[in-house]
Each structure stands twice: as structure tokens, then as C-alpha cells.
């Protein structure tokens, strides 16, 4: 649809800052308006990447599971990891990508708990890979207006 969401949100921010804000009667109302401005700016950034970051993360998690499965001692968990690794995102709808992401991240927690109990060099490599992925996931979610 045109105008696209990015342009629309840019105009909404301008409207809130230059038209609505100055017309508000109290400092409390004006500060609430500024919170909306910040949210619209964050929303604009998130809208642009919403599908891409979920798609990228789901692929990264599947790749991690594929590499980790041979290390896993629990046959039932290994089978679920192999099944997840063989999967693919069949829809790019954000809600569907998010649901798949939640399931994959749940499986990541199970994998992490499992490899932490294993004593082998291969398990330590998987553990390090999981920590790298957790750090990468925060990079994907990072907002430019956030403090850290």
C-alpha cells in the first residue's frame, strides 16, 4: 500500500511533535506524547526488519540444531532437533514467523540445558555456539534509540 508504512510513520511522528504536542495543555500530557513519538520511531525501525530478523534467526537456529544434534546424548531430544533442523519457514507472515521462532527458541533452551550437563569437547563447542547465537539474537533485536 502507498504511502508505505515507513513514510506514514515518519509523518505521524512529525504530526505528534509539531501539531499535537504543542496543543496539549499539561506537561504530563506532553510527556505522554513524547513517549508516543519514541514508540513510533521504534515501530518504524521494527516494521522494516520484522520479517527479516525472524527469518534470519529461525534459519540460524535450524543450522545450530543441525550441528548440535550429533552431540546430543538424549535420543528423543536429538530427534526433535533433527526434525526442527530439517524444517523451513513456509510463510513470511510475521505472526507465523514469530510462532515458529518461539518454538525454536524453546528447543534452544532445552538443548542448552542438555549440553551444559555433557562433558565433552564437542558439547563445549555447542555450548559456545549457543552463547554466540544468544548474543546475535540481541543484535537482531537492537533498536537504534535504545541505550544498550
Amino acid at each position: 500500500v502507498k504511502p508505505d508504512a515507513d513514510r506514514l510513520l515518519e509523518i505521524v511522528v512529525e504530526h505528534l511533535l509539531l501539531r499535537i504536542g504543542p496543543a496539549l495543555p499539561t506537561a504530563y500530557a506532553r510527556s505522554g506524547n513524547l513517549a508516543l513519538v519514541a514508540l513510533m520511531m521504534a515501530l518504524r525501525e521494527e516494521f522494516e526488519r520484522a520479517a527479516a530478523r525472524r527469518f534470519d534467526e529461525n534459519r540460524a537456529l535450524r543450522n545450530l540444531f543441525a550441528g548440535a544434534a550429533p552431540v546430543v546424548a538424549d535420543a528423543e531430544l536429538r530427534a526433535r532437533l533433527e526434525q526442527a533442523a530439517a524444517g523451513a519457514d513456509e510463510s513470511l507472515a510475521v505472526s507465523r514467523l514469530e510462532a515458529v521462532n518461539a518454538a525454536l527458541r524453546g528447543l534452544l533452551i532445552e538443548l542448552h540445558a542438555h549440553v551444559e550437563r555433557l562433558e565433552s569437547d564437542a558439547a563445549r563447542r555447542v555450548d559456545a555456539e549457543i552463547w554466540r547465537e544468544l548474543a546475535a539474537s540481541t543484535e537482531r533485536r537492537r533498536l537504534s534509540i535504545a541505550v544498550f
Binding site: A38, L39, A42, E46, L143, A146, F148
Partner: protein, 40 residues
Amino acid sequence: VSGAREFSQGANRDMILALSAWLMGNAQDRAALDALGRLA
């Protein structure tokens, strides 16, 4: 985290909860990773 949950579930619709959740949620995860020496 609790503010994000309350806003998401509709228990509290104050926009400041959404703002703090969006701005601080991921930063909190990053801080935890940093404290564990896993962020670099």
C-alpha cells in the same frame, strides 16, 4: 519484563510500559550477556 507482559495481556494499557519494554527489554538481555562475559 512484567510491564511488557501486563501491556501485552491488556492488564495495563499505559503507553510508558510499552515504551520501557521496547527500549529496555533487549538492553536487559544484552546486560545479562555482558555480565556473563558472553556479549563480545
